[in-house]
């Protein structure tokens, strides 16, 4: 394993998860053989038998209950070709129910930013952050969640940029800040509206940009009528002076970058939060130029690609709306299919509801661990147990895989060919470097074998063949050919033809909406679904820590990472700790309406009194998180629940 200093974004930098990746790749618990459930035990079976069982399981459900009783979870950890093949298989079978875990992190970006700007993706590349003169990071702890991005924020700082961080907690990101706005969790829209109001009243908005390139400004003005920075201060807990200063710095700088992540998206008003971010950038004209834009910080290596490939309930590949008959017609021709389902299908969160109610009968899950990652995870477990048939394609025996009827061992990233699209829309090809352990196989070939047994016309011999089809059917990928994306740094979409250089900055001349204009949305804050109550007086929020990755099925198997953060903990303010009789390092029980979990207390001032924070990488955190959802994007409100804490016996 060697570093890659010539990469334009990483420059050789890796986070601790990257540095310990071989411990995961070569772990002794990697799945090596197909397994079949036998009561509480597992029996090793041949690939032939496994594939037959899967085809029978999915086929029977489709025959008995209709194709819409099938649910498919693609993986934002897997490559574009696997995601493309899986959604194609689902749709050829007649099921619109295909989704991926973008649902749980950035679905509000795809629909919210997509609605505002026309494209729900990062507008500029990461390196371009160095050109910003003001960086506003709201609801993103990028120093922990995206460590390499911090080098670009620091370069901006070297060039004289001012850094504003809006986060309720003191984080490694707020260390970098010139101005840290410690807002109340769930008051993001109030803060953004306060900043907009200041910019409008002080005349630091870009009126020409608003007139030429946006629509809906009158509605926004009406929405802000009577709203004041003082009111915003009251609602957010941030002082009026700080709101005014942040607004001035952001709106008046030559180029302002707005970075956001799950602190914005994981709320019941997640989509509106994203729209409010877009509104601020648009009225200040801080978009579509070097250093000016919106950077949604995505969570997984290929979450952008999985969404691009149509592994999403609302979209066919290339963001063609599943509800639009012309998308369905296009793919009927492209795939030579007599009929395809129109959508939108069920989202991953809705599939679990449907499984509980018996409408979804069989599921095919690839590289995702909803039993750990879904909020109110006990419900997800019950839902998956309720299925007639569950097949899980994985690299480890995850808690989700343990519920399956058949477990298929898959090759990991270094063991297969394929392309990945990073959060900056950069499409890059990875060649297979090492063989997969035991009988584990490339996911794409497994999908094709199952599809063939189900009588579908999905014949690919290699990832390269799938990419050729993607080049034909997804216009933004047309020029992203294997030869071009094999070079260091690949190419950024949209890349509409082979001689197109790719697009590093979106929306420079016009927005990608049909009329070329961006839409401003007049939004108002919606309080969290669950507010602290006498029984559950403390606000629980969750998030990432630097040494672990999502559900932790990989990173919790790495000795060098576990040595550093071995167990679930909860951060408690000293004031709360003293009134609740909690000592630093002691075990506590955290309970919500949904259940309880044990965690080690960290008594610290990084959280304010009245709130606690838990990392979500360990089993337990999501047993108690809230499954209230944003009505538009269906993202659950991981960032806010009401809880109680008691010292454990």
């Amino acid at each position: 394993m060697e570093y890659m200093p010539q990469h334009p974004t990483g420059e050789g930098g890796l986070c601790p998860k990257g540095n310990s990746i071989l411990e995961v790749l070569n772990h002794k618990e990697r799945l090596r053989y197909p397994l079949k459930r036998n009561g509480d035990d597992w029996i090793r079976i041949s690939w032939e038998e496994a594939l037959d069982l899967v085809a029978k399981g999915l086929g029977n459900a489709a025959k008995d209950y209709g194709a819409r009783s099938l649910g498919f979870l693609a993986s934002s950890r897997c490559n574009n070709e696997e995601n493309y093949a899986l959604q194609k298989m689902a749709r050829l079978l007649g099921s619109p129910n295909v989704d991926n875990c973008a649902r749980l992190c950035h679905s509000p970006t795809v629909v919210g930013l997509g609605g505002s700007l026309g494209t729900g993706a990062m507008t500029n590349n990461i390196g371009d952050l160095a050109n910003a003169r003001c960086v506003l990071a709201i609801g993103t702890n990028l120093a922990e969640a995206h460590p390499t991005v911090s080098r670009w924020v620091q370069k901006a700082k070297d060039n004289g940029a001012v850094i504003i961080v809006a986060d309720p907690r003191i984080t490694h990101t707020s260390w970098m800040a010139d101005l840290h706005l410690r807002l109340k969790p769930g008051s993001d829209i109030d803060l953004l509206r306060g900043m907009m109001k200041v910019a409008i009243d002080e005349g630091s908005i870009d009126e020409r940009f608003i007139a030429d390139r946006t629509k809906g400004f009158e509605d926004l003005l009406r929405n802000l009528e009577g709203f004041t920075p003082e009111k915003a201060s009251e609602l957010t807990g941030v002082s009026t002076e700080e709101i005014v200063e942040a607004a001035r710095l952001y709106s008046r700088s030559e180029a302002s970058a707005l970075l956001y992540s799950m602190g914005i998206t994981q709320h019941i008003c997640g989509t509106d939060n994203v729209r409010a971010c877009a509104d601020l950038a648009l009225i200040c004209g801080q978009i579509g130029r070097p250093g000016a834009g919106i950077w949604p910080m995505r969570g997984q290596n290929n979450v952008q690609g999985a969404c691009d490939m149509g592994a999403m309930a609302e979209f066919y590949p290339g963001y063609r709306r599943a509800s639009d008959p012309s998308s369905v017609d296009f793919f009927k021709t492209a795939w030579n299919a007599p009929s395809l389902p129109d959508g939108p299908g069920m989202t991953s969160t809705e599939m679990m509801d449907a499984a509980l109610e018996g409408q979804v009968r069989a599921m095919y899950i690839i590289g995702e661990d909803p039993v750990i990652c879904d909020p109110n995870a006990s419900k997800t477990r019950e839902a998956l147990e309720n299925l007639d048939f569950l097949v899980v394609q994985e690299i480890f025996m995850t808690p989700t895989a343990k519920l399956a009827d058949v477990v298929l061992p898959a090759a990991a990233w270094a063991e297969k060919d394929g392309s990945y699209t990073s959060m900056e829309r950069r499409v890059q090809w990875i060649d297979r470097a090492v063989p997969a352990p035991g009988e584990a196989r490339e996911g794409l070939l497994i999908i094709c074998d199952i599809a063939r047994r189900l009588g579908l016309d999905i014949e690919y011999n290699s990832a390269a063949e799938v990419l050729e089809e993607i080049n034909r059917t997804v216009s933004i990928y047309r020029g992203a050919t294997r030869a071009r994306i094999s070079g260091i740094g690949g190419v950024a979409w949209p890349c509409p033809s082979e001689d197109h250089p790719g697009t590093e900055i979106l929306h420079t001349g016009r927005f990608s909406s049909p009329d070329g204009r961006a839409s401003l949305f007049a939004v108002e804050n919606v309080p969290p679904a669950e507010e602290p109550s006498p029984e559950y007086p403390i606000l629980l929020t969750t998030g990432r820590i630097v040494v672990h990755y999502n559900g932790g099925s990989m990173t919790r198997r790495s000795p060098s990472l576990m040595e550093r953060d071995p167990e679930l903990y909860v951060e408690v303010n000293p004031e709360d700790a003293s009134s609740l009789n909690i000592v630093d390092g002691g075990m506590v029980v955290v309970s919500t309406l949904r259940g309880e979990t044990r965690a080690r207390a960290r008594v610290t001032n990084v959280v304010k009194p009245g709130m606690v924070f838990m990392p979500f990488h360990y089993h337990g955190a999501n047993l108690i998180t809230s499954d209230a959802r944003d009505p538009i994007s269906k993202i659950p409100e991981y960032k806010s629940a009401a809880c109680n804490i008691l010292p454990a016996e």
């Binding site: 986070c15 601790p16 540095n19 460590p147 990101t173 260390w175 060098s560």
Partner: protein, 145 residues
């Protein structure tokens, strides 16, 4: 080729620790120290010009090799005098002495190559330029750093 640390850049991710362990067979020589809730700083051998450890080492296992404080494992007796002599606590003894060797044989130490925040560098000019720029910016704002 000493390693310069930019404390303002360190994000406390401990990637340097993991990388150091990885290239040194599981035993790392760099440690990220957290200062309350507000800062972190990687601590490791300074490769002192007049290195106390080399003076204390009677067997010649620790010696100066240009800018580097080098270590010859074959000569180490494991006596631990170096650990006592080091004023920074970055040489320790577990059967033999353990300390940063600046990743002998690699183009750059692994911690420098991989630091995602670019907080570590072997480039004196870069480190110096950053410091001067910071001081200039602070002065422009009318205050001390």
């Amino acid at each position: 080729m000493p390693v310069y640390v930019d404390v303002d850049r360190c994000i406390g991710c401990r990637s340097c620790e993991v990388a150091c362990q990885r290239v040194h067979g599981g035993i790392g020589h760099i440690h990220v120290h957290f200062v309350g809730d507000f800062a972190s700083v990687p601590i490791f051998c300074h490769h002192c010009e007049e290195a106390s450890c080399t003076i204390a080492c009677f067997s010649g296992a620790l010696y100066k090799d240009g800018e580097r404080t080098a270590f010859d494992v074959k000569k180490c007796t494991g006596c631990g005098l170096c650990s006592l002599a080091c004023p920074y606590g970055v040489v320790w003894t577990d059967k033999i002495a353990h300390k940063c060797d600046l990743c002998e044989g690699r183009a750059e130490p692994a911690c420098v190559a991989t630091c995602p925040a670019n907080a570590l560098t072997t480039d004196y000019e870069l480190a110096s330029r950053r410091e001067r720029a910071r001081a200039a910016r602070a002065a422009a704002k009318g205050g001390r750093r």
